[in-house]
């Protein structure tokens, strides 16, 4: 008998993880909240004279981005800790798989949940947009498509960050750190601006270091490009995709190193 391949173990663990998360009531609250934001966008659009579809697009992208981020942070933060606290990981890890394989399987399961949530919300978003806007097909620009894809990509990056923190933090700390990174990461240019305006050299250095160390999630925010109808720049898109993949891989790699030392 040979140990399972990475693909085989990832498939098995991600399947169990997917159904485990799907049964979690928290997930439905997040999805409901996101649908509410979409609904609010629809209502706000009814009260607008010009370009109501822009309101729906802004609300739609925000709903997608927030729900993907909250799912990654909230369900991801308890994913590993729950396995170790309930000791369900013990039997899995007594099989011929490495802890890295186990971690990747958990990440893949969470990624599937994010993808399903994304599909559901994108469908709802397009339905509302089609219902509201007269020029539906004109609004469906490539940049809007990329903005929606990048909302999912940001969720995947946050999922890897969540798993990284959960290898050495409690669930609540992991959630707080991930939300912190989400908030700071989406305001990196503001922090750099603050550093530039700061008169205290220590504060300047601290803010610049912070903005250099933490992942810059602004790469995944194409909201303003969508609002102004700018065409997608291939360089910007490929840089965003590459940045998302590389940040996820780095955090998963670090999580893989740390989980090896985690005591059961």
């Amino acid at each position: 008998m040979t140990p399972p391949s990475w693909l085989q173990s990832t498939r098995a663990i991600s399947r169990v993880t997917f159904f485990e998360i799907i049964r979690d009531k928290v997930l439905y609250n997040i999805v409901f909240f996101a649908l509410m934001i979409l609904g609010m966008g629809f209502l706000a659009a009814q009260m607008t004279y010009a370009h109501p579809e822009r309101i729906i697009v802004d609300f739609g992208i925000a709903a997608l981005s927030i729900s993907c981020a909250v799912i990654a942070a909230l369900t991801g933060s308890s994913l590993l800790n729950r396995e170790f606290e309930r000791r369900t990981a013990y039997v899995a890890l007594s099989h011929p798989i490495s802890r890295g394989q186990f971690l990747l399987g958990k990440y893949a399961g969470l990624a599937w949940v994010l993808a399903v949530n994304w599909l559901l919300l994108v469908s709802a978003f397009l339905f509302i947009l089609n219902f509201t806007a007269d020029n539906f097909y004109e609004i469906l620009t490539p940049i809007l498509g990329w903005a929606l894809v990048f909302a999912l990509l940001q969720g995947l990056v946050l999922a890897s960050i969540t798993l990284f923190f959960s290898t050495f933090c409690t669930s609540s700390l992991t959630f707080m750190f991930t939300v912190g990174i989400y908030l700071i990461g989406n305001n990196i240019s503001e922090i750099r601006l603050l550093a530039a305006h700061s008169k205290a050299p220590a504060l300047n250095t601290a803010l610049n270091s912070l903005s250099s160390i933490l992942p810059n999630l602004e790469h995944f925010n194409l909201g303003s490009s969508v609002t102004y109808g700018l065409p997608p720049s291939p360089g910007l898109i490929s840089a965003g995709l590459f940045y998302g993949c590389i940040v996820s891989v780095i955090f998963l790699f670090l999580a893989g190193l740390l989980i090896r030392t985690k005591e059961v």
Partner: protein
């Protein structure tokens, strides 16, 4: 003794505990060998270090010092774990999975292909008593039932089923009979014996001595993280570990004497100990055949009726009590 498949050599294990993460030593220079095809019972009180050692054997932890090898391979390597089927102390499984879903999950983690898993599920469930033939009429077949609906006994059985699914050479069972009713214990004992006959090496821990005594060929005793005895049951029972008083006791049951006279025999007959009152009369013990002769003579002189004379075989419990007192 045949080639050992589980080798534990000079293993120390410690955990960091408390705010200052102070190291607390759990295992001290543990040495243990389990030969192929043997049923090895691992006895110890709660907190003695049984589960910690089992976690080292199944590769869940690495020892601070020393080595643990399974089939000659380092226990921490996935290749070593292909040889092992493990049942944890309490079967912690994902409750949302059905019995079959859980077996498919762990089958895939063992490296089995989906077709092989499908082939193995039915015979393994039948083996542990969860097959359709063992299910009561009108109830759902366990393989299609969610694990949260399983009873304690069913969870224990499905836990053994997942350990058996990839047909491992070694089975490591942590307290496999805990929480089971007498019938369930008997069935698990029979299952372990059947598996042993098929050549499996079985390492199981327990703090219930009769369970170990009934089926094990060899036992290891652990006390406060140290191995205090290891060998075949007969060797351990005849070894110097047990005091003479325990090894050569002979029980005499008698009747026909008033209560106070029976109780006063301890002072009248040399080396005779009054034991207890039983429905038929009384029992007492002597330690050797000379004392037995004089006790019989004295009882006959007192016109007592001798009911039976039985040599008392020392039990593992006697040994365990002796070692526990160390």
């Amino acid at each position: 003794m045949s080639m050992p498949v589980i080798e534990v050599e000079k293993v120390d294990q410690a955990f960091r505990t408390g705010f200052w993460l102070k190291k607390s030593k759990i295992l001290h220079q543990v040495d243990l060998q389990v030969p192929r095809g043997e049923i090895f019972g691992f006895l110890g009180a709660n907190g003695a270090g049984k589960t910690t050692l089992i976690h080292l054997i199944v590769g869940l932890r690495k020892p601070v010092s020393g080595s643990v090898r399974i089939g000659g391979k380092d226990a921490a390597l996935p290749e070593a774990r292909t040889l092992i089927g493990y049942l944890p102390e309490r079967p912690y499984f994902h409750e949302h999975l059905t019995g079959e879903g859980m077996l498919r999950y762990f089958g895939a983690l063992s490296g089995l292909r989906p077709a092989e898993i499908s082939e193995r599920i039915a015979p393994v469930l039948e083996e542990v008593g969860l097959g359709p033939n063992s299910t009561r009429a009108g109830t759902k077949i366990p393989r299609y039932l969610e694990l949260k609906r399983y009873s304690k006994g069913m969870l224990q059985r499905i836990g053994i089923a997942q350990a058996l699914l990839h047909d491992p050479e070694i089975l490591v069972l942590d307290e496999p009979m805990s929480g089971l009713d007498p019938m369930g214990r008997k069935e698990i004992r029979e299952l372990i014996l059947r598996l042993s006959k098929r050549g499996k090496t079985i390492f199981f821990s327990s703090h219930v001595i009769p369970d170990v005594e009934a089926i094990c060929t060899r036992v290891g005793l652990i006390e406060k993280g140290r191995i205090v005895g290891c060998g075949s049951i007969s060797d351990l029972l005849t070894s110097k570990h047990i005091s003479n008083a325990k090894t050569s006791r002979i029980e005499i049951a008698f009747a026909g004497l008033p209560d106070d006279q029976a109780r006063s025999l301890t002072s009248k007959i040399p080396e005779f100990n009054f034991d207890r009152k039983i429905p038929e009369g009384f029992t007492g013990t002597v330690t050797d055949s000379a004392a037995l002769q004089s006790a019989i003579r004295a009882l006959i002189n007192l016109r007592a009726e001798i009911l039976w004379i039985t040599p008392v075989r020392p039990s593992l419990e006697d040994l365990f009590q002796k070692e526990g007192a160390l």
